[in-house]
Subunit: 206 residues, 2 copies
């Protein structure tokens, strides 16, 4: 049930092997999508063997769940950076939003978003993936909720339902990324980012 | 290139045959997704033969492009209804938004949204489908842009970039539908609909 947190390589003598496998997974997902993600393809990309990958991850699903789980840790790091950078609540909010803007020439990030959508469609029929992807989504939404709630507490933002506002912002940014990655509307994320600032962020400011 | 508008059955003695095929296509897409959409499955669902379907549509792709194209006509009808119903610009805008709220128990509409996402992912690599899906998307965005622009012209809404505001609203509503249909966050469309009203629509009112 919880393949994403069991890690047979804990304390292994090769701390970078899993890192390399995760990096390879990202590149295969971007280049080939979920359909192209085989243990063999990951091994080739990582310059290792299928058996070494199986030493670290029992199945491809275990590997993929662990891959998705890592994004939650990365998000925590990113949030700590934002907190350290500035005390200004609006600046923190905008720094968070900036992360979601994908430029037209960032082909890899667009490919990755398509791969994530593929995984999400699979998740509709697969409880384990749905739980993991929901945990990822929840972590992002909680992070933005927290930024908004802190702004309200400090009197920088007006009283709003911080979670509902975070959902609105993230749904808009994710909708724009989907439009860009599937219909080729290159400037969708930047345009919607600007509109979020104009209509939602400015509406928050006291 | 333009398989969606060539129609071999124009003036046919069976005006309802295509209607029945389109209805069957919708049901197969909802029940089986794009992968399950075969001419045979459509024929069975429509209670007709594969050869009759081929009489109307050369290929499955022609059929699917025609299916998508019909949504543009339907949108025009829906807009005419809204226009006829009320002169109030806020009421027209809200009536438009209401259309995008999918209740948790509307399983078929959620399945259909997943099928559309599958088609969108395919569109990333298929120019003909991308053109059709972009035309559909563009029609919806132009319709909402028009509603907002008319409100501005009549002095009911403040001066904003009507297209950018329409994009923000639709990205948010589409993002919420994707979240609902893939992660099972049942109340996402209703919640985001309410937030759009609170933050964006109320911000438009003069």
């Amino acid at each position: 049930m919880n393949g994403s947190s069991t890690d047979p390589a804990e304390g292994s003598e090769q701390p970078d092997a899993r890192e390399e496998i995760m990096r390879a997974t990202y590149h295969i997902l971007c280049a080939e999508g979920y359909a192209g993600l085989t243990m063999r393809a990951i091994a080739t990309e990582a310059g290792t063997s299928k058996s070494l990958i199986h030493y670290h991850y029992d199945t491809k699903d275990d590997l993929l769940l662990a891959f998705l789980d890592r994004f939650i840790d990365r998000l925590d790091k990113f949030l700590a950076e934002i907190q350290a950078e500035t005390d200004d609540h609006e600046a923190r909010l905008v720094a968070f939003l900036d992360r979601f803007v994908v430029d037209p020439d960032e082909d890899e990030r667009q490919s990755f978003w398509r791969a994530l959508l593929e995984l999400r469609l699979r998740a509709a029929h697969d409880e384990e993936f749905r739980d993991q992807l929901e945990a990822n989504n929840e972590a992002i939404r909680e992070a933005l909720t927290e930024i908004i709630a802190e702004g309200i507490d400090d009197g920088a933002f007006r009283e709003v339902d911080s979670r509902a506002t975070a959902d609105l912002i993230l749904d808009a940014l994710e909708g724009a990324r989907t439009r860009q990655a599937t219909l080729g509307t290159d400037d969708a994320p930047l345009g919607t980012h600007e509109s979020v600032r104009e209509h939602v962020v400015s509406d928050l400011l006291v």
